[in-house]
């Protein structure tokens, strides 16, 4: 039989499948993976990137025995919007020494959620600065942990010096409906920016 006579179970046209991604950022231990897990259709998966002391992911490791390497883990989840559209939610590594991954993560992203903890607000400054500088659309979601004090939005906005055009929400990252409303808020914000003709992203 000629090989072209075979019918394969899957002979896809990949140009019809696309992925979109949202970055979940914020300080270490703020609840990024919890938020991802609350809405993901799969248990959050973990992927790793290897970085050398030179600070690049693709550095050549061969023949340099004393070079230190760091492994950074990232958790992510997935929401299948339709057979041809898949949304990924990537938790950005919290510590600033892992920022080599952030460039990779933000490239082409729909936008970002900066998750903040009211008890450690300064932990989210770095994330906010990053997305401001790159013109990545983002919102700030303040994760209200049990027993954490609840402040009015205006006070949080002032404490975090969040520009007026950036939405601020309160959320409970463990709660599916609450996590959903954060993502819905971000997507609505990005659609609004597009419709108003605001340039989105440097890229």
């Amino acid at each position: 039989m000629h090989s072209s006579d075979y019918r394969y179970p899957l002979d896809p046209d990949p140009t019809r499948i696309r992925a979109a991604k949202i970055v979940i950022a914020g300080g270490f231990g703020v609840g990024k993976t919890t938020l991802v897990g609350a809405v993901s259709e799969i248990e959050p998966l973990t992927t790793e990137a290897v970085m050398t002391s030179a600070g690049t992911e693709h550095d050549d490791l061969s023949g340099v025995p004393d070079k230190t390497t760091t492994t950074v883990a990232m958790d992510f989840g997935r929401i299948t919007v339709a057979p041809d559209l898949i949304l990924y939610l990537f938790g950005a590594p919290g510590q600033t020494r892992f920022w080599f991954m952030w460039d990779q993560l933000q490239r082409g992203a729909i936008g970002a959620v900066v998750l903040a903890d009211v008890r450690r607000l300064p932990d989210s400054f770095a994330s906010i600065d990053f997305f401001e500088n790159r013109q990545v659309p983002y919102l700030v979601a303040v994760n209200c942990f049990d027993g954490a004090p609840v402040y009015p939005e205006a006070d949080l906005r002032e404490a975090l010096t969040i520009p007026p055009h950036v939405p601020v929400l309160l959320c409970d990252a463990r709660d599916r409906e609450s996590a959903k409303s954060v993502l819905i808020g971000l997507v609505r914000h990005v659609i609004d920016l597009h419709q108003r003709g605001v340039p989105v992203g440097l890229r």
Binding site: P14, T47, A49, F90, Q195, R203
Partner: protein, 123 residues
């Protein structure tokens, strides 16, 4: 997951880039969320391409998966998965799809965002 990789809590006793024979640069840049689908040729030829590539071809013929998912399922760093996937794309075993910003007009972008919004609201 690779056979044996999950049995040992210490992971595989192989240095990460050994599976790429020391190469750290992929032949093309592939985004972490790029969608991978095994081609008809991949279904036919990947069984002879080594166990990592064989496994990738198996995973991506059941349902489209991203580079990040491949990295996670194979328990290899994202950079290693990227080298393997770029090789397979060059060999015609995998189709890689990633949207380039330049190719997309604003209308298409908004349409995609509205589909995502609808899906989130229905979750």
């Amino acid at each position: 997951m690779l056979p044996g990789a999950g049995d040992d809590p210490r992971g595989e006793l192989v240095r990460p880039y050994a599976v790429t024979r020391g190469r750290t640069e992929p032949t093309r840049d592939i985004a972490i969320e790029a969608i991978l689908v095994t081609t008809a040729r991949g279904v036919q030829e990947a069984p002879f391409a080594g166990r990592h590539k064989q496994l990738i071809a198996q995973l991506c013929s059941n349902s489209p998966l991203s580079l990040a998912e491949i990295s996670s399922h194979l328990r290899v760093p994202i950079g290693v998965a990227r080298v393997l996937v770029a090789d397979m794309a060059a060999e015609g075993l995998l189709a890689v799809y990633q949207q380039s910003e330049e190719e997309e007009n604003q209308g298409e972008r908004i349409e995609m965002l509205e589909r995502i919004l609808g899906a989130l609201q229905r979750l």
